[in-house]
């Protein structure tokens, strides 16, 4: 084979719907190399020396923001964090003006989280730095989708043909949407179950996904189970009765896990509500990759930074 002709250089990372399978493959392969760096004693390579990255978070986040920040720092980039509570955003500055300000300081990439669907795409039309979407409303969380694929492949050695069950609040989940796009592109079979109130009514029209009334049906024979976080405000919004009932009917516990393949892998984008959507025994059990996902997240984000800012390894 000749040189790799796929390049992500300069590409805005907005959602996995914009990715080809080859582009996803490139990220996963690059992330493997990056993961080695994290295991080194001195975690610093000069790949992005002289590059500057701003994380712009309009919503609270610990793991995603820290993950992006460390990913940039391990690669030698300068990383600055802006959070909505501590900036001129609270003085009413528009997103456009905030972006202009950041652009004017000469940054190369902006990592953005925002409550409004499409905010990252909007930003990509407003300014020239590369935009990496770290979550826009319920729309997309592409780096999480990629790290899920990476984690699955590390364990299973492949993606194609695997059966995955996504359980819970798909309606409000940007992670689920990025999973659906990414997993289907990589040839996985996606099964979905949860309270009907938390599944988009017209999701059934999306080709290639299977929606089940009972989570047991989705879990049966699954290679991968992703459990989504349930939020208390959904209960207050009348979408499910109680966390107790949720746990009883829709929670992943050992008994239900037994319906999946013996070596089924468990994912959760965090933060978890143990005892609600997932039992502690399952969350901390041998099949759980939940902690590992966090480390893989750094590797995948290192890969994304490298690929969009430098194009990756020059061969």
């Amino acid at each position: 084979m000749g040189k790799n002709t796929v390049s992500l250089r300069g590409k805005h990372i907005l959602g996995l719907e914009d990715f080809t399978p080859e582009e996803i493959r490139l990220v996963l392969e690059t992330a493997k190399e990056m993961k080695n760096i994290i295991h080194r004693d001195i975690k610093k390579v000069p790949a992005l020396r002289g590059k500057s990255i701003v994380t712009l978070f309009y919503e609270p986040s610990t793991r995603t923001r820290t993950s992006f920040e460390l990913a940039g720092k391990y690669l030698g980039a300068d990383v600055v964090n802006i959070t909505a509570g501590a900036s001129s955003i609270v003085k009413g500055e528009s997103l456009r003006d905030t972006l202009y300000t950041i652009e004017a300081m000469g940054v190369d990439a902006i990592v953005m989280r925002h409550k409004a669907e499409g905010a990252a795409e909007y930003a990509s039309h407003v300014v020239t730095p590369v935009i990496l979407n770290a979550g826009d409303g319920a729309h997309a969380h592409p780096s999480q989708g990629l790290l899920n694929l990476f984690t699955v492949e590390q364990h299973k050695g492949r993606l194609e043909g695997l059966k995955v069950a996504i359980l819970g609040d798909v309606l409000h989940s940007r992670v689920a949407r990025s999973d659906i796009h990414g997993m289907r592109k990589m040839g996985m079979e996606v099964h979905i179950a949860g309270p009907r109130t938390l599944l988009p009514r017209f999701l059934c029209e999306e080709p290639g996904i299977f929606i089940h009334d009972r989570i047991e049906e989705a879990i049966a024979g699954a290679d991968v189970i992703e459990v989504l976080r349930i939020q208390l405000e959904r209960m207050k919004g009348g979408l499910f009765p109680t966390t107790r009932e949720y746990a009883r009917i829709y929670g992943l516990n050992a008994k239900r896990l037994a319906l999946a393949k013996e070596d089924a892998l468990i994912l959760h984008p965090g933060p978890m509500n143990k005892g609600w959507e997932i039992s502690p025994a399952v969350a901390y059990g041998t099949q759980s990759a939940i902690q590992e996902e966090v480390q893989n997240g750094v590797a995948v984000r290192m890969a994304l930074f490298t690929l969009v800012l430098t194009g990756g390894k020059q061969e």
Binding site: A116, E117, Y122, G137, P200
Partner: protein, 428 residues
């Protein structure tokens, strides 16, 4: 001023007239319609190859005055109307303050007399401050000249209050215009609920919200024996509900917008709030149903729901941008291009829905070229090709889902009370 519009295709739906003829205007009235009328001192306008129609009427616009002049005012809004071929617009009361008293209606009529390029009808609020609780002074506002009532742009009145309004208005024979979306089902919704909203993660505004609101408001009107007008109908279900109601004799009329007649939710792009509007752009089956409703008489009028916002308000994240966009300057071009030139409807039907039928629905002495009528006339060039450039709009709103479109057909002359207020895009 005397004016002779020579040799155009004169379409006057009120008189079922559709012939090549001359139209003579004198003293602000239609003086004659016929072949080879003498000039007789009148200024001649060559209308050959063009269409001479009654002045277009738009019964649903938001001129934003008072209080939101950054979006629009009576001057800029009626310049946009004149540019688009409209001679009469009815402006909605969701302003600051809300138009809910006779004094405010009078004030707005005075403003219109001072600055407006075209006739402006004032729609009053149904309830005080459009809060849906207590009736506004409907009788007083009628005496002051309010043409109809609506809580459009705010929450619908609850059933009890709406029924009161219907009952109260019966002796006055005025129409209530209802924005039909059941509030609890559209909270925070930003686009049509469907497969596309599901995959974009956007909160949906389901068609069922429109359907059940339409049913409720029509049934209440039927119960009260009152008149009701369904604003900007957009769902297939609501069209059928109106159709059935008309069949059983309910005093219901309905309107549809150019965008709900021609555009679907597929045009929604996350990075551009231009397509954000309530009710939202729907699915193809809904667009087809609205068009069928227009054809079979279920829908009486085409309105633009002209809803300009200041560019800086609209230029932001889709979900956080305000709903609505300007429509007065694009309606004729869009409707001719997408509905008439494609053969979906014929030109006389289009003109009827933009003139005579809305006039009839609201009891206006307008919308006809019959001799003695007010000389409100629009000349259309159905074959003029042009491109929509939002920066050239007369309205203060700039974000249009039609921006950049190449259209065929445009108003080229607007005459109000016998005076030319627009010719070839220039507003006087």
């Amino acid at each position: 001023m005397k004016l002779l519009l020579k040799g155009g295709r004169v379409i006057d739906p009120a008189g079922q007239f559709d012939e090549v003829a001359d139209v003579r205007i004198e003293d602000g009235k239609i003086a004659a319609v016929g072949k080879n009328l003498p000039a007789d001192g009148a200024e001649a306008y060559d209308a050959r190859g063009k269409v001479v129609a009654p002045g277009l009427i738009d019964m649903h616009v938001h001129l934003r005055e008072p209080g939101q002049e950054a979006k629009e005012d009576f001057a800029s809004g009626t310049e946009a109307a004149a540019a688009g071929g409209y001679t009469r617009v009815a402006t909605m009361p969701n302003t600051r303050p809300v138009i809910d008293t006779a004094a405010l209606v009078e004030g707005m009529k005075k403003r219109a007399a001072d600055v407006a390029k075209v006739h402006v009808e004032i729609i009053g609020a149904v309830t005080k401050n459009q809060e849906g609780k207590e009736l506004a002074e409907l009788g007083d506002m009628i005496e002051a000249g309010a043409v109809a009532f609506s809580d459009d742009g705010h929450f619908d009145p609850v059933a009890k209050v709406l029924l009161s309004a219907y009952d109260y208005l019966r002796p006055f024979d005025k129409v209530i215009i209802n924005h039909e979306e059941e509030t609890s089902l559209v909270e925070d919704g930003v686009m049509n609920e469907g497969h596309r909203s599901a995959m974009l993660g956007m909160k949906g505004r389901p068609t069922i919200a429109e359907d059940i609101a339409t049913v409720r408001d029509i049934m209440l009107a039927e119960y009260a024996g009152a008149r009701v007008h369904i604003a900007h109908i957009s769902s297939a279900g609501a069209v059928d509900i109106v159709r059935q109601a008309k069949k059983r004799g309910v005093r219901v009329t309905a309107e549809a917008t150019p965008h709900n007649l021609t555009m679907t939710e597929d045009l929604v792009k996350l990075c551009d709030s231009s397509t954000k509007v309530n009710p939202p752009l729907r699915a193809q089956k809904d667009v087809d149903a609205v068009l069928e409703g227009l054809r079979d008489g279920t829908i009486d009028a085409i309105v633009t729901d002209h809803s300009p916002h200041a560019p800086e308000e609209k230029d932001r994240e889709y979900g956080l941008a305000p709903s609505g966009f300007p429509g007065l300057e694009t309606a004729v071009g869009v409707l001719l291009t997408d509905l008439v030139h494609t053969g979906k409807i014929d030109l006389p039907l289009l003109i009827s829905k933009m003139t005579w039928e809305p006039a009839k629905a609201f009891g206006l002495a307008a919308g006809t070229l019959s001799v003695g009528a007010n000389a409100d006339v629009t000349v259309l060039d159905p074959n003029l090709e042009w491109t929509v450039v939002a920066e050239e709009f007369h309205t203060r709103g700039s974000h249009s889902p039609f921006a950049g479109r190449k259209l065929k057909g445009k108003a080229v002359l607007t005459v109000v009370d016998g005076n030319i207020v627009m010719q070839d895009g220039r507003v006087f």
